[in-house]
């Protein structure tokens, strides 16, 4: 029933090499098709009309004329197929009529053979033949034989053992369709080699349009329900593959292999992987073998998932255990890579990607399979001597995909480091791609909050992410030269810093080991990197020290271990100081002093003192900006004010040093604020563990502050300082410093009242005014309060 299965279309092409018989332009095609289809429709109408009137002979004549429209060589294959579809559609009416009436009819099978041309005769024979077979299945074999080169649908014998020898069995059907398939494929392939070479593109397009007719043979085979797996293995597949391989035509091979994959069930594929994949290796050079294999893998992986879904069974129960899917693919893919030397490297890598996803989808727990794929890939690159693979190369994309798929699939960096070949493969990349993969991994760790519990694991991960820790040694362009780069860099380092917080073991000793490992890796970076990545280490170490303190009763060595940790912190912080980051180091020293003061292990006072002096010397030697100086000394003082671990012989020099440093600040307002802040050291600062409450020295600081304020020339700043001073005086007054009198407060209030109205209106003035207003409101509320609990009397304060 196919238009060119024997003599009709193919015959014409074979003889129709002369010019002018092949279709011309597109417009012509449409016109020709419309005319042919119109004529056919007219005849169909007549035919139906005669059938209504039961005028059989006239009807057959119309059918024959209609079918004659198929005797054309002017149509392109596609148009021809369209015409064929509409004509055969009309034949269905005839067939239907005949099925109803045939019992009474004379021998139609004979009758239709009087049609004078082959094409109509053939189609009518088939139509009548089908009707006969439907009515009397014993005729099947003989009629089929008669129509030998035409594959017809619906009537193929599909039983294993025929009821009688005339019906034919499934083997006849297979043989029949395979023969037809081979013939059709030959015709299809031959199309490629006809006509002028300049028309190659057009011919390929035509072939593309026709491929389905060849493929349909495979569909027929797949529809034979009596064809078992055994038959498929023994007869069907070898038959198809033999034809596919021997036709040596790239278009046919690619399409037909794909067809085999699609039309036969998964159950069959699973049992015939070897022959199929072996044939893949033998295909022509132009064939995209990669796509064929990927499509098979995808199909089987989907099957595994689909069946798992439907049956609800454990996934591994779906694909029979005796089918070593991964091994078979692994071996055959290697074989293909070896034989097909023309295959581009990207394709080879794509095959590895497919293999990898097969391993993951079907054997989700077999990390070794995945690792094997990575290892094979590394070997392939080794053989080709590929190193430092540039991020600009196309193959890089596929390779990166391989690694990213692993990261995405497991969502667990600890599994990634079980893949022993992950890092060796990563090392084949250039710095840029290694860095982006490292970042990808770290982001994955952060998203999944993967905790890293051992030093070895930390070591492996830090090795993998080396490009984020160290500069590129192979290139000189390390400087971050513009702000966008700098921002990106900071963000990236921030990510690393967040990762460090995930190095977390429940075992304190292990945690310490891990911190040491991390320190070793991270210490290799430049100062710009240290700034971001060392502070988290220091804080993690401080936390660990507290942990040891908490388990002091279970671990008799906690004291020594704390000392070690503090040493670790000290050296880490001094590394920061050396990397020209004094502000950061100063803050970390102060934090350390606080921690040490609280943990109170042996010798803690000396060490805390050492940390304080380190902070002081950084302050003195390294910090030069006046704003930064004030901020630093304020921080030092407030840290010291909190600490209670010092004996007087250590506390006094620190206290004096603070006061001295404050009074030596360069700018008067800074001096004033520094000195006033110092007052707290003599009031709430600790002396032998108790608050000092030295009324005189507290007041001295305040007075000194007031004196410095009076020396300021800028009235605006001066008033501001007075308002601040008033607040400080009030603070200590309210807390019961008996040396502070109402008169002192009144004096300050009067001073502010006098100066404030003279200030130029400005944003700063407004701020000073509102600060002062709030202070007065506080005073007023205290004066009006009847609360007897107040320690001091506010009587006598004049606000205006």
């Amino acid at each position: 029933m196919y238009p060119w299965s024997s003599s009709s279309y193919g015959g014409q092409v074979a003889t129709g090499g002369q010019t002018g018989t092949m279709p011309n332009g597109l417009d012509d095609q449409e016109k020709l098709l419309a005319e042919a289809a119109g004529a056919a429709r007219k005849q169909a109408f007549q035919m139906n009309h005669f059938l209504d009137k039961e005028r059989m002979l006239d009807a057959l004549k119309c059918a024959s004329t209609m079918l004659s429209e198929l005797r054309t060589s002017l149509l392109s294959p596609k148009s021809y197929y369209e015409l064929y579809m509409s004509v055969t559609n009309e034949l269905c009416h005839l067939e239907l009529y005949l099925s109803e009436k045939s019992n009474k009819e004379t021998d139609l099978y004979e009758l239709v053979q009087y049609s004078h041309t082959i094409v109509p005769r053939l189609y009518l024979l088939i139509t009548v033949g089908i009707v006969y077979i439907k009515n009397d299945s014993t005729l099947k074999r003989s009629i089929l034989k008669d129509l030998v080169e035409i594959a017809t649908r619906n009537i193929l014998p599909d039983v294993l053992v025929a009821d009688n020898e005339h019906e034919g069995n499934v083997y006849d059907a297979i043989d029949f369709v395979l023969t037809n398939f081979a013939e059709m494929n030959k015709l299809w392939v031959r199309m490629q080699h006809q006509g002028h070479s300049s028309e190659k593109t057009r011919r390929e397009k035509e072939r593309e349009e026709l491929k389905i007719l060849v493929g349909t043979n495979l569909v027929r085979l797949s529809q034979l329900e009596s064809a078992t797996l055994e038959t498929y293995k023994r007869l069907i597949l070898p038959g198809i593959l033999e034809q596919v391989v021997s036709c040596r035509d790239a278009i046919a091979q690619e399409y037909l292999m794909e067809c085999i994959i699609q039309v036969f069930p998964d159950e069959f594929h699973l049992q015939t992987l070897d022959p199929f994949l072996k044939s893949c290796a033998q295909l022509e050079t132009g064939v995209n073998v990669k796509n064929i294999i990927i499509s098979l893998i995808e199909r089987l992986a989907a099957y595994n998932q689909r069946s798992g879904k439907t049956s609800g069974n454990a996934i591994d129960a779906i694909i029979p255990a005796e089918v070593e899917l991964f091994e078979v693919f692994s071996v055959q893919v290697a074989n293909i890579v070896q034989t097909r030397t023309d295959m581009p490297l990207e394709d080879t890598i794509s095959l590895q990607v497919a293999l990898l996803s097969l391993a993951q989808k079907v054997y989700s727990d077999r990390v070794d399979y995945v690792d094997k794929v990575l290892g094979t890939t590394a070997q392939i690159l080794d053989r080709m001597n590929m190193n430092n693979i540039s991020h600009l190369m196309t193959v890089n994309q596929e390779l990166s995909r391989l690694l990213r798929i692993c990261i995405d699939f497991y969502n667990n960096a600890l599994t990634i480091i079980q893949l022993l070949n992950f890092y060796p493969l990563l090392e084949k990349f250039d710095y840029t791609s290694r860095k982006s993969l490292a970042l990808y991994l770290v982001m994955n760790i952060l998203e999944n909050e993967t905790l890293v519990p051992t030093a070895d694991q930390a070591d492996s991960l830090l090795t993998i992410i080396t490009p984020l820790i160290e500069d590129d040694t192979t290139s000189s362009t390390t400087a971050t030269n513009n702000s966008a780069d700098a921002e990106e860099f900071a963000e990236e380092q921030g990510v690393v810093a967040r990762f460090i917080h995930l190095l977390k073991s429940d075992e304190p000793d292990m945690q310490y080991k891990m911190l040491q490992t991390a320190r070793k890796h991270l210490g290799n970076g430049s100062g710009q990197r240290l700034k971001h990545v060392l502070p988290p280490l220091v804080f993690a170490a401080y936390q660990l020290a507290f942990k040891y303190k908490a388990i002091a009763e279970q671990d008799e060595n906690w004291d020594k271990k704390c000392q070690k940790i503090v040493q670790y912190c000290h050296s880490t912080i001094s590394a920061l100081a050396k990397a020209d980051l004094p502000d950061l180091a100063l803050r970390l020293y102060l934090q350390g002093a606080l921690v040490i003061g609280e943990i109170r292990y042996t010798n803690h006072e000396t060490v805390a003192y050492e940390f304080m002096t380190q902070a002081f010397s950084l302050y003195e030697d390294e910090i030069s900006d006046s704003k930064a100086q004030l901020a630093a000394i304020t921080l030092i003082m407030s840290t010291f004010e909190q600490m209670s671990c010092f004996g007087e012989e250590n506390a006094e020099p620190l206290r004096t040093n603070c006061a001295l440093a404050a009074s030596k600040l360069l700018k008067k307002p800074d001096q004033c604020r520094g000195v006033v802040a110092c007052a707290a050291l003599f009031w709430s600062g600790k002396q032998n563990g108790e608050e000092m409450r030295d009324e005189k020295r507290t007041l001295d600081c305040l007075k000194k502050g007031a004196r410095i304020a009076s020396q300021c020339l800028d009235t605006g700043v001066q008033v501001q300082l007075y308002v601040e001073l008033l607040n400080h005086y009030l603070f200590y007054f309210e807390r019961g410093n008996s040396l502070i009198t109402v008169a002192m407060l009144n004096q300050l209030i009067a001073k502010v009242n006098e100066e404030l109205p003279n200030l130029e209106p400005s944003e700063e003035t407004k701020q000073i005014e509102s600060h002062y207003k709030n202070t007065l409101a506080h005073l007023r509320s205290r004066m009006e309060s009847n609360d007897t609990a107040l320690e001091v009397s506010f009587a006598g304060i004049t606000l205006n």
């Binding site: 015959g11 020709l32 109408f45 054309t72 596609k78 559609n89 269905c92 349909t216 439907t310």
Partner: protein, 207 residues
């Protein structure tokens, strides 16, 4: 005598790959189901006799390839369809979303006389599975918005609603045919003078 040509109904089944088009047809025509997945390439048809309004008609059901790369010879067979069945998989939201484009594609290719009222039927298949993703309400809403397309939820595997759905398909197809025959089946007018101008019915061809 009832006119015979009304008794052949052409039905096209469309939808994404692996939604179960072939399985639905097989269940309806052969009362068989197989879990084995065989992709359809190209198009193929089955016939089945069915009684509609006390009349026996033959339904010609065209099964099609869902995968684009296997739809090679185009869609010539869409023409002359009497009903189009759109199938999606209730466990695959994408197959539902694509119903729109399948419907459009059909209307463009088949170019029926009255696209607004051409009979479609929508089938939500695989309701036997428990991981359903597209709700009945959502599907019904879509069908209502397209001129009240009849909607059935089916399982080709369990045979749920298959018979009923195809009964509706046959009924709607028959109505369509009754309308269409009056106009469509008349051939082009006969132009006496143009008949001989046709370039070659391949008289030189020997076959």
């Amino acid at each position: 005598m009832a006119t015979r040509k009304k008794s052949l109904l052409k039905v096209i089944i469309l939808g994404d790959s692996s939604v179960g088009k072939t399985s639905l047809m097989n269940q309806y025509v052969n009362k068989r189901f197989s879990n084995q997945y065989k992709a359809t390439i190209g198009a193929d048809f089955c016939t089945k006799e069915v009684v509609v309004n006390d009349r026996v008609v033959t339904m010609q059901i065209w099964d099609t390839a869902g995968q684009e790369r296997f739809q090679s010879l185009g869609v010539a067979f869409y023409r002359g369809a009497d009903c189009c069945v759109l199938v999606y998989d209730v466990t695959a939201p994408n197959s539902f979303k694509n119903l729109d484009s399948w419907r459009d594609e059909f209307l463009i290719q088949a170019s029926p006389r009255d696209p607004e009222h051409f009979p479609f039927v929508v089938l939500g298949n695989k309701v036997d599975l428990d991981n359903r993703q597209v709700s009945t309400r959502r599907a019904q809403q879509w069908c209502q918005s397209k001129n009240d397309i009849p909607y059935y939820e089916t399982s080709a595997k369990e045979g749920i609603n298959v018979e009923m759905a195809f009964q509706t398909i046959a009924k709607n197809a028959l109505e369509q045919e009754t309308e269409a025959e009056l106009i469509n089946d008349f051939p082009d007018q006969i132009r006496l003078n143009s008949e001989n101008n046709r370039p070659g019915n391949a008289d030189n061809c020997q076959c």
